[in-house]
Amino acid sequence: MAATEKEIVDGLAEIVNEIAGIPVEDVQLDKSFTDDLDVDSLSMVEVVVAAEERFDVKIPDDDVKNLKTVGDATKYILEHQG
């Protein structure tokens, strides 16, 4: 069953917490992975791969660079999840 927006944000928060040690409550739709959450380009790849597994979605390398905020990633997953 497809995940809701809230489930995706909660899931991303857990992933970002696991990979970058950022408190889950800081992971909000308007937050930038790089500027606000201290997720660098390599950690972003780990976040993306974890999100792919969790939400049954493929996020090609070319699309990763467009995912600037948690909102961008959430929208992408909502639109592409299996």
Partner: protein, 333 residues
């Protein structure tokens, strides 16, 4: 039809000795920062690299190879005359022909061994090791010298902030010889040519000769794509190599991945769920990424420092431009 006599090789092969050579000049991040807008902290956090070695004019591909090979030959307890084949893996020897392996073989005082170069980027050591094992077991050579050697400083764009800090120079060598027990496992290897643009030389020599562009060619890569492939696809290959050798991660003593970037190493260790007791090579911190030389250099250092010991079971995996990869379980010499 005449009957052809079959060749007669050893039952199995093993790595008998290892040697390494790092150029005298140690280059700290401060020197890299003279040509790129970055910081020591940024370089360390993205790569783990603190220093690398850059070769002088005298520290040629052949000279570094000879130093490393001399140590490997002594470590193996054989003489140069016993070597039946010399395999050199490099992407940074700038003379197309003849193969540099022949000059190295001659200057080492070998007899008339088979000698040739291979090009398999950062998987070059694993490719050479696999060929060497085949030669020993098949009977074409009793002892094979495998060298991984690079002068990547010659192919580094010092103004590219994504790669200027990554590369280093050096040579690593091993002697592969006969064994009564299997001490080099099956190799899991392959290529993904559809990803050939992921890590590459910026321009061909031909384009450079014809004047466009005016910048000397260098190695460039798509960082995020390389990271994803190296960590997540190579973790699968590493697991396949363990399966092929009939062991699990619990049976490993040492993990020697290609020293590309410490972040890749960290993430591979996590993805592979390697147990705490496994010693992980992190030579990249002080040697940088030396492509084909990185695995034998890291192996030599782990043995020299006592962090690993002779007889330990090690998983070695190389991966890089091609894209190509090779993973094998070996017993350390």
């Amino acid at each position: 039809m005449s009957k052809i006599k079959p060749s007669q090789g050893a039952p199995y092969a093993r790595i008998m000795g290892v040697g390494g050579y790092r150029p005298t000049r140690v280059v700290p991040n401060e020197v890299i920062l003279e040509t790129i807008d970055s910081s020591d902290e940024w370089i360390r956090s993205r790569s783990g690299i603190q220093t690398r070695h850059w070769a002088s004019d005298e520290e040629t591909v052949a000279a570094m190879s000879i130093e490393a090979s001399g140590k490997a030959i002594a470590d193996a307890g054989i003489t140069p005359e016993q070597i039946g084949a010399v395999i050199v893996s490099t992407v940074s020897h700038f003379k197309q022909t003849p193969a540099i392996a022949t000059e190295i073989a001659d200057r080492l005082g070998t007899g008339k061994p088979a000698a040739f170069d291979i090009s398999a980027g950062c998987a070059g050591f694993g490719y050479g090791l696999t060929l060497a094992k085949g030669l020993v077991v098949e009977g074409s050579a009793e002892y094979v010298l495998v060298i991984g050697v690079e002068r990547l400083s010659d192919l580094t764009d010092l103004h590219d902030r994504a790669t200027a800090f990554l590369f280093g120079d050096g040579a690593g060598a091993v002697i592969v010889g006969p064994s009564k027990e299997p001490k080099i496992g099956p190799t899991v290897w392959g290529s993904e040519g559809d990803k050939s643009d992921t890590i590459k030389q910026t321009e061909s020599w031909e384009a450079y000769r014809n004047g466009a562009p005016d910048k000397f060619p260098a190695i460039t890569q798509e960082g995020q794509a390389v990271f994803r492939w190296a960590v997540f696809e190579m973790a699968k290959v590493a697991q396949q190599a363990l399966d092929a050798a009939g062991i699990t991660a619990d049976d490993l003593d040492v993990f020697i991945p290609h020293q590309a970037n410490e972040r890749i190493i960290d993430s591979m260790v996590k993805t592979l769920k390697l147990p705490e007791h496994v010693m992980v090579a992190r030579d990249v911190r002080t040697t940088g990424n030396t492509s084909a030389a990185s695995i034998p250099l890291a192996m030599e250092r782990l043995l020299a420092t006592g962090e690993a010991k002779s007889g330990d079971t090690a998983l070695v995996i190389g991966f890089g431009a091609g894209l190509v990869y090779a993973a094998t379980v070996v017993t350390l010499p």
